[in-house]
C-alpha cells in the first residue's frame, strides 16, 4: 500500500525537467491544426483523424504529467515557483519563462507559462474532454465534406484554450482569449453556406468583441496601476515579501507589469493599514490616474474585466450570442460552448482572486450579474422546444451559478462547478447530438419522445447527466452547485452589502428548482412517453461506439467527480475540508490572506450540514417532480383542450426569450446603425472622400494650372526673378544691419 502511495506521490517527470517543455502542450494541437488545415484534403479522412486525435492525446499525456508534477512531488514536498517578485511564494506550481516576447520602453511582456493547481485541473479538463469530443466528432462528422477544416479548427481551439490557461501574464492570456473567440466564430459558422449559421457566428463575434474591448481597457488600467504602485509604495508595503521593494522592481523589469505573480505581490501589499504608505484608500499622485484611489481604480478594473468575462462567458448583458451559437456542429457546442471556452471568465476571476477580494463592490456586482443571468436563462429555458437551445440556456444559467460562486468568494466551488459542469454538460450536448444523429437531425423535443428503448446508451448517459445537473444526491452536480449556494448564503461581502448575498442566496434556490424543472422536462419529452407521430424517422438508431464511448466516460466522470466536494481532507487544526478546496488552497491562499487583512469581506469555510444538503436536495427534487407531474400526467391528459390565456402569454414571452433580442435591436443596434449612418455620411462620404481625398487632387490641379503661366522658358525672366530675390535678400540684410 505504501509503495502504491509512494508511486502516486512521485511525479514520473520531475517538475524541473518538465517545465521547459510546457510549450509542447500548446504546440502539439497547433501543429495538428496546421497539418489538418493545410494538408487535410490530401491526407484523407483516416489520417486527419489520426493527426487531430494524436495531437490532443499528446497534450493530454503532457497535461497529466504536469498535473502530477505539481500535485504531490517527492513525498508531498511543494514545488517552489521561482518567482521574480518575492522570495517567499512557495507554491505547488512550476513555471518557465521563455524570454521576452516584446517590450516597449519599460513595458515588457514575457512568454511565460505556469502550471499550478488551478490550471492543472483545467488542463486535464480541456485536453481530456477535448479528446473525447474529438473522438465523438470522428463519427459525428463522418458524412461531412469539410471534415479536415473542422478538425483543424477544433485543434486550433484546443491550442488557444491551452494558451489561455497556461499563460502567466494577462497579455498571453488575452492571446488565448482572442484565439478561442476566433475558433468559436469559425466553428459556429462552420456551415457557412447557410446564411443563418454564418449570422450566428457574426453575432457571437461581435458580442465577444464588446467584452474584449473592456478587457483591454482593464489591462491598460492595470499597467498604469502597477506603475503607480511601484512609484509610491514603501518598504512597509512589502511586509509579506520581507520588505524588499527592490525585488519587486527587479521583477517588473524582468517580467513586465502584467504577470499574475506581480499582481499578486501588489494585491498582497495593498490592504495593509498602519505604517504602509500605500493602501487601498491612498490616492495615486501622478500619471494619468492621478487623483483616484487605488481601491477605486481596482474596482473599475474588475468591473471592466467583468464586462470582458461576460462577453466570453455569456453573462448579462452579453449572453445573447450563446443560444445562437448552437448553429454550429453539436460537438462544438459541447466542447467550446459548454465545457471550456465559456468558462474562461470564471477561470480569469479565479486566477485573479487576489485582486477580486480587494473590492467587495466588484464582487457584489459579479454576484448580482451571475444570479440575474442564471435566473433569466433558467426562465427562458422553460419554454424552449429545441433540444440544443434548452441546453444552451442551461449553460448560460450554470455559468451564472459559477459567477455567483466567484462573486461570493467561494472560488474553489466555482472551479469545481466548472469541472463538473464540463463533464455533465458535455455529456448532455453529445447526447443531444447523438439523438439528432439517430433521428434525422430532428431538434424539436415535441417531435421526439420514446427514445428510451431505441437508443439505450444515449438514454442511460443522458439520464445520468440530467440527474447530475438537476442536483440529485449522489451525483457531482448536486455537490458542486450546493457548495456554491451554501457559500452564497454564508459569505458576507461587508456590512453594507449583506443584503446582496442574502437575496442572491434565496434566488439561488429558485434557480436550482428551475434547473431541475426544465432539465426534467427536456429529458422526459425526449426519452420517455410514446414516440411522437410527427417524428421524422419511425425508428431511431443508436449511434456508433465512437459516439457512445465518450458519452459513457463523461457520464461516469460526472458521477465520480462528486468525490472532490466531500470533506475528506483533514487540516492540521483537525477540521475537515472538501478535497477540492484543500487541493486549491495554495492558489487561493493569497485571496484568503488579503480578505482577512482587508477586513471588509468574510470568506467562509463552513461545511454544509446534512440539513442544508437535505433542503437543497428537496428543492431540486420538487422542481423535477413538478416537471414529471406536468409532462407525464397533466399535459397528456389535457391534450386537445386550449390552455388558459395567461399561460399562453407567459409561454409565448418565454419562448421569445423575453424579447431581449428585440430590446437590444431597439435600444442598441438601431441607434448604433443610425449613428453609423450619420458618421458615414458626414465623416466618410463628406469629410474624407470629398474634402480630403478629392479636395487634395482639386487643389493641386488648380494651383498647377495657375502656375503654368509662370513657366515661360525664358532664361532672362528666370534670371530677373533671381536678381529680384537677391535684391530682396540684400534689402532685408541691410535693414537688419542698420537697425
Amino acid at each position: 500500500m505504501d509503495a502504491i502511495r509512494q508511486f502516486f506521490m512521485t511525479a514520473p517527470v520531475p517538475p524541473d525537467t518538465l517545465a521547459p517543455s510546457l510549450w509542447l502542450i500548446i504546440a502539439l494541437p497547433l501543429l495538428g491544426a496546421f497539418i489538418c488545415g493545410v494538408f487535410g484534403r490530401k491526407l484523407g479522412r483516416g489520417n486527419v483523424h489520426l493527426v487531430a486525435l494524436g495531437a490532443v492525446a499528446g497534450s493530454f499525456v503532457l497535461s497529466v504529467l504536469a498535473f502530477w508534477a505539481v500535485s504531490h512531488v517527492q513525498g508531498g514536498r511543494p514545488v517552489s515557483l521561482t518567482s521574480s517578485f518575492s522570495f517567499n511564494s512557495v507554491r505547488y506550481a512550476m513555471a518557465h519563462d521563455f524570454g521576452t516576447w516584446f517590450s516597449a520602453g519599460d513595458f515588457r511582456v514575457n512568454f511565460g507559462l505556469m502550471v499550478d493547481h488551478l490550471n492543472a485541473i483545467l488542463l486535464l479538463v480541456i485536453t481530456g474532454v477535448g479528446f473525447l469530443i474529438h473522438l465523438y466528432s470522428t463519427s459525428y462528422m463522418e458524412h461531412d465534406e469539410g471534415y479536415w477544416r473542422y478538425f483543424a479548427y477544433l485543434n486550433l481551439f484546443v491550442a488557444a484554450m491551452l494558451t489561455l490557461v497556461l499563460a502567466d501574464n494577462l497579455v498571453l492570456l488575452f492571446v488565448g482569449w482572442e484565439g478561442v473567440g476566433m475558433c468559436s466564430y469559425l466553428l459556429i459558422g462552420f456551415w457557412y453556406n447557410d446564411a443563418a449559421k454564418a449570422w450566428a457566428g457574426r453575432k457571437a463575434f461581435i458580442a465577444n468583441r464588446v467584452g474584449d474591448f473592456a478587457f483591454l481597457i482593464a489591462t491598460f488600467l492595470l499597467v498604469l496601476t502597477v506603475g503607480a504602485f511601484q512609484r509610491q509604495a514603501d518598504n512597509t508595503n512589502f511586509a509579506p515579501d520581507n520588505n524588499r521593494p527592490e525585488r519587486y522592481a527587479q521583477g517588473l523589469s524582468a517580467k513586465g507589469p502584467l504577470t499574475f505573480q506581480g499582481l499578486e505581490a501588489m494585491a498582497n501589499a495593498l490592504p495593509h493599514e498602519g505604517a504602509a504608505k500605500v493602501t487601498l484608500h491612498s490616492e495615486i499622485v501622478e500619471g494619468p490616474l492621478a487623483g483616484y484611489t487605488f481601491g477605486g481604480v481596482i474596482t473599475a478594473i474588475l468591473l471592466l474585466f467583468l464586462l470582458g468575462a461576460s462577453g466570453k462567458s455569456a453573462q448579462l448583458p452579453l449572453y445573447v450570442w450563446l443560444p445562437d451559437a448552437m448553429a454550429g456542429p453539436t460537438p462544438v457546442s459541447a466542447l467550446i460552448h459548454a465545457a471550456t471556452m465559456v468558462t474562461a471568465g470564471v477561470y480569469l476571476f479565479c486566477r485573479m482572486s487576489f485582486l477580486l477580494v480587494l473590492s467587495p463592490t466588484a464582487m457584489a456586482v459579479i454576484l448580482i450579474i451571475g444570479t440575474l443571468t442564471s435566473l433569466l436563462a433558467a426562465l427562458i429555458a422553460f419554454a424552449q422546444d429545441d433540444i440544443k437551445k434548452v441546453l444552451a440556456y442551461s449553460t448560460v444559467s450554470q455559468l451564472g451559478i459559477m459567477f455567483m460562486g466567484v462573486g461570493a468568494g467561494i472560488f474553489w466551488a466555482a472551479a469545481l462547478h466548472l469541472v463538473t459542469h464540463a463533464f455533465f454538460k458535455a455529456c448532455l450536448f453529445l447526447g443531444a447530438g447523438s439523438v439528432m444523429h439517430g433521428n434525422g437531425d430532428e431538434t424539436d423535443i415535441k417531435k421526439l419522445g420514446g427514445l428510451r428503448t431505441e437508443m439505450r446508451w444515449t438514454w442511460v448517459t443522458f439520464m445520468i447527466a440530467t440527474l447530475a445537473i438537476t442536483g440529485i444526491v449522489p451525483l457531482s452536480g448536486f455537490f458542486s452547485k450546493d457548495a456554491i449556494l451554501h457559500g452564497v448564503h454564508h459569505n458576507q461581502l461587508g456590512e453594507s452589502l449583506e443584503w446582496v448575498s442574502h437575496l442572491c442566496g434565496i434566488l439561488g434556490y429558485v434557480i436550482a428548482a428551475s434547473t431541475a424543472f426544465y432539465m426534467t422536462r427536456l429529458y422526459l419529452l425526449t426519452f420517455e412517453g410514446r414516440r411522437s407521430s410527427e417524428a421524422r424517422l419511425a425508428h431511431a438508431h443508436e449511434s456508433s461506439w465512437l459516439m457512445t464511448l465518450p458519452l459513457v466516460i463523461l457520464a461516469v466522470l460526472s458521477v465520480v467527480a462528486a468525490v472532490y466536494a466531500f470533506p475528506l481532507m483533514q487540516l492540521p487544526s483537525g477540521e475537515h475540508q472538501p478535497v477540492f478546496e484543500n487541493f486549491l488552497n495554495p492558489v487561493f491562499a493569497s485571496a484568503e490572506r488579503i480578505a482577512a487583512a482587508g477586513r471588509e469581506l468574510r470568506l467562509e469555510h463552513e461545511l454544509p450540514h446534512a440539513l442544508d444538503y437535505f433542503i437543497a436536495w428537496l428543492i431540486a427534487l420538487a422542481g423535477g417532480a413538478l416537471a414529471a407531474f406536468l409532462y407525464m400526467r397533466f399535459f397528456p391528459a389535457q391534450a386537445g383542450k386550449p390552455a388558459p390565456a395567461w399561460a399562453r402569454a407567459i409561454r409565448r414571452a418565454a419562448q421569445n426569450k423575453f424579447y431581449v433580442d428585440e430590446a437590444y435591436e431597439f435600444v442598441v443596434i438601431r441607434p448604433l446603425k443610425f449613428l453609423s449612418m450619420i458618421l458615414y455620411r458626414v465623416f466618410d462620404a463628406l469629410l474624407i472622400d470629398t474634402v480630403m481625398v478629392r479636395g487634395t487632387a482639386w487643389v493641386t490641379t488648380r494651383v498647377g494650372s495657375a502656375l503654368r503661366y509662370v513657366q515661360t522658358g525664358d532664361a532672362q525672366s528666370y534670371a530677373a526673378v533671381m536678381a529680384l530675390a537677391l535684391l530682396g535678400g540684400v534689402a532685408y540684410a541691410l535693414i537688419r544691419v542698420l537697425s
Binding site: G713, A715, Q716, A719, A723
Partner: protein
C-alpha cells in the same frame, strides 16, 4: 591715394549695368558682353580689397576669374555660333527651348 570705397562704388555701378544688360538685352552676344562686365566688376572689388590689405590673395582670385571667364567665353561663343548656324539668328527670344 584714392580710398577703397571709390573703387567699390565703381565696381557696383559696373555690376548693375552688366546685370541690367543681361536682363534686358535680346542679343546673345550683347548678353555675353554684359556678363563679362559683371565679372570684371567683381575683379575690380577683388583688386581693391587686395590693395587695401596689402597682400596678393585678391590678385590671384582675379586671375582665376579671368581664366574661368575666358573658358566660359570660348564655350559660350561656340554655342552662340552653333545656334546662329542652325537658326540664322542670335535673338534669345527665338531660343525658348526650356519650355518644352
Amino acid at each position: 591715394m584714392v580710398p577703397t570705397q571709390y573703387y567699390l562704388f565703381l565696381a557696383a555701378a559696373l555690376f548693375c549695368m552688366g546685370m541690367f544688360g543681361v536682363l534686358t538685352r535680346r542679343n546673345a552676344l550683347v548678353v555675353f558682353m554684359c556678363v563679362e562686365l559683371m565679372l570684371n566688376a567683381a575683379n575690380l572689388t577683388f583688386l581693391a580689397f587686395a590693395r587695401q590689405r596689402g597682400d596678393s590673395i585678391g590678385h590671384i582670385s582675379a586671375f582665376f576669374v579671368i581664366a574661368v571667364a575666358a573658358a566660359e567665353a570660348a564655350i559660350g561663343l561656340a554655342i552662340v555660333i552653333a545656334v546662329f548656324r542652325s537658326r540664322g539668328s542670335v535673338n534669345i527670344d527665338d531660343m525658348k527651348t526650356m519650355k518644352h
